[in-house]
Amino acid sequence: MSRIYSTDQTLIDRLSLNDTEAFEELYRRYWNSLYLYCLKKLLTSEDAKIIVRTIFINIWETRHSLPVSFSLSKHLYEEVRKTVVQCLSQKLSDATNESYIEKRLLAEFSVQSLLAARKPVTKKYTVINKPSELIRQQAGQTGTEHYSTLTTVKWMFQSLTDKLSLTNILSYPKN
């Protein structure tokens, strides 16, 4: 792997010139996310590996005919979705995958679960009325001693004045 970061477009340009290092760099960049996505959808490592392999083999084989404004991330996104659906269709036609279909797949395709998946993620916000309470809570969680903001500011001001007075004494002209 190269230490110098190259953009996808640069690597694709190099790929069209049969640069195998560029291809391997692109593979290292994207294989993991593709694999995890396939694994989540299909539940078998073997299928996920086959899909990742097929996608990258296609990229290598079509490297000379890639369009100028080729977006690799978009291409991978489209390809992985298409291949997952194709694989799923094959699984459904195969009678050996009944348990997977019954337990997981049909439940995931139910209207309720799809609606639940479409809901936006809500973040939990806590309203802080008294910042000192939050500091006290955090101090309690971390096991550190709690100082109020006022005490901290006083202490900082004191140390600052001490330092200033010390520098004043040191730099005071001896006339």
Partner: protein
């Protein structure tokens, strides 16, 4: 939903003949990535190498386009 109905829906989607509602349903399922599974670093590096070797075996690109030998100064620089 029965497996047979889902199968016919997926078949139509793959062939580009599905209804808009079916397309939306399948795309909603495809877009649902709620839980994140992660691989351990050892598993990850093993799998990475395994899949890459399969790709290399299929395409045979190391045979046709062997890696160029790096100059000695680049080898030394890579050590640091």
């Amino acid at each position: 939903m029965k497996a047979q109905i889902l199968h016919s829906k997926l078949e139509r989607y793959v062939n580009g003949k599905s209804m808009p509602a079916e397309t939306r349903q399948i795309q909603a399922w495809l877009s649902c990535t709620s839980t994140d599974a992660q691989l351990s670093p050892e598993q990850r590096s093993l799998l990475e190498l395994e899949i890459l070797q399969e790709i290399q075996a299929y395409t045979a690109y190391p045979l046709f386009f062997p890696k160029k030998e790096k100059p000695w100064w680049q080898k030394i620089a890579a050590l640091f």
